[in-house]
Symmetry: C2
Subunit: 273 residues, 2 copies
């Protein structure tokens, strides 16, 4: 196989297997090439991944070593994408009765979610996390998008227990904005004890749901390494109960009377500064 | 930029933008290369994508033409993956009280779901679909995985209306196995009238949920082009109400007493025959 063909195959391999250590012998056997040729291939792939702003190859020396694709979305690509997303969200057509914002189309758009996942994966990359934890229903697409770049499982907290998930742990918590008592459930076997996790959700206002998830994760002795939300909205009473989080965008104003929405880049932007 | 570098960039482009027509001038401008050089690049990429069993490039001639990556997971790769999945599912540890099978780990595994999505996208590739429709909660990961290869939105049917989704259409239907009356809701703006859709879900027994979704989609004048489920289980009373579907695997026997599960490749395998 010629170098040009190998480079395509290797690029496909890394993009389909991010954050997964592979030995050079895997490639040299698969494509009948010497280790030194493969090593040169990897230099070219690494250079181009960085040039394209999608990440880099991490090479670990030694017997147990190998090479791994680390997805890293460049500051330039991320800021331009987040700016576009703000503009999309500022469309007055999104205003729903009650001052809510329609976002389901964004969560259901695979091209958009791929970029969102890539950006959060960049932020979570060095945290050695074992799982992405989210809550049904709307957080699931976001969680899947991030997990696919980090090569870790998605664990879904539910509002109601399901017979198809076996024995579960449940907690009651107080919703931040509505002050209602709600329930959350996580199946016992869905998360090993003592896991390092990131909590993600599509939307955060006061942060009651995320606080509830933290309490539930305490029951699994999980370490919450980071919290990520697609959009945060300012709570009128400014009683936010979660302070350490990353958001992609901040919705600062929704005025249904004047049909004006203001959306700004969120706190995740700080990671490149 | 040298050919070797261009090939990596072009492979990244196609893998990140499946089923999306791009003009040759996009590449020739982005990488300062002649159209004939790019055309040769595309031949090499096409050849290697086919060699790796991940799809091919579709080239459309003429002024409005261009090139598109069509994900197509080869028969060989698909059958070997499905066989592995059957073995995974036959693990007696998965048996839950009531004869149910624990599958959430599979739905939450991004590497597994990537392949599942690739296989279903192959089956749905020529159907000109506009959206993947699923039902909360467990179908969402499957829907996302397929949609990311087909470059179409995911539309999520819910059991309960949500204030953040605006005006909705709801229907009542009779659940196939439990014979209970249930409700399904789809926000008005989530699906344009007359769309071509595929319905997907993680699990099908009698098929009541899918029949309910079909009735709901009738209200949107949608054309259901295909139905796909990750796993189907034989209904004891053999009263299946959905007959035209594709399944990745068939669970033919769950014996909690003897701790035996039998799982076989599903009907999707026929597409390559």
């Amino acid at each position: 196989m010629k170098r040009s063909n190998r480079l395509i195959a290797i690029t496909n391999y890394f993009m389909s297997n991010p954050k997964q250590l592979v030995q050079l012998t895997y490639f040299s056997e698969a494509y009948s090439a010497s280790k030194s040729s493969i090593s040169e291939d990897l230099d070219i792939v690494d250079e181009m991944f960085q040039h394209e702003g999608i990440g880099f190859l991490d090479r670990i020396a030694g017997a147990a070593g190998g090479v791994m694709y680390v997805p890293y979305y460049s500051k330039e690509k991320s800021t331009s994408f987040i700016q576009d997303l703000c503009t999309q969200l500022e469309d007055p057509e999104r205003i729903l009765p009650g001052g809510y914002l329609y976002m389901s189309d964004i969560l259901g758009n695979p091209a958009t979610m791929r970029k969102v996942g890539h950006i959060f994966a960049t932020a979570f990359s060095d945290l050695h996390i074992d799982a992405i934890v989210t809550v049904a229903t709307k957080g699931i697409s976001l969680a899947n998008a991030i997990a696919s770049y980090l090569n870790v499982p998605v664990v879904t907290v539910r509002r109601d227990p399901k017979v198809t998930e076996g024995s579960s742990v449940s907690i009651n918590y107080v919703s931040g904005s509505s002050r209602k008592i709600q329930t959350m459930v996580l199946p016992r076997r869905s998360l090993p004890e003592g896991s390092n996790v990131c909590i993600v959700d599509d939307f955060m206002k006061a942060g009651g749901t995320i606080t509830g998830m933290k309490s539930l994760l305490d029951e699994f002795n999980a370490n919450v390494k980071a919290i990520g939300v697609l959009a945060e909205a300012e709570d009128e009473e400014d009683e936010r109960v979660v302070l350490d989080y990353m958001s992609l965008v901040q919705i600062t104003n929704v005025n249904s009377l004047k049909q004006i929405i203001e959306v700004h880049p969120g706190t995740i932007i700080r990671q490149w500064e």
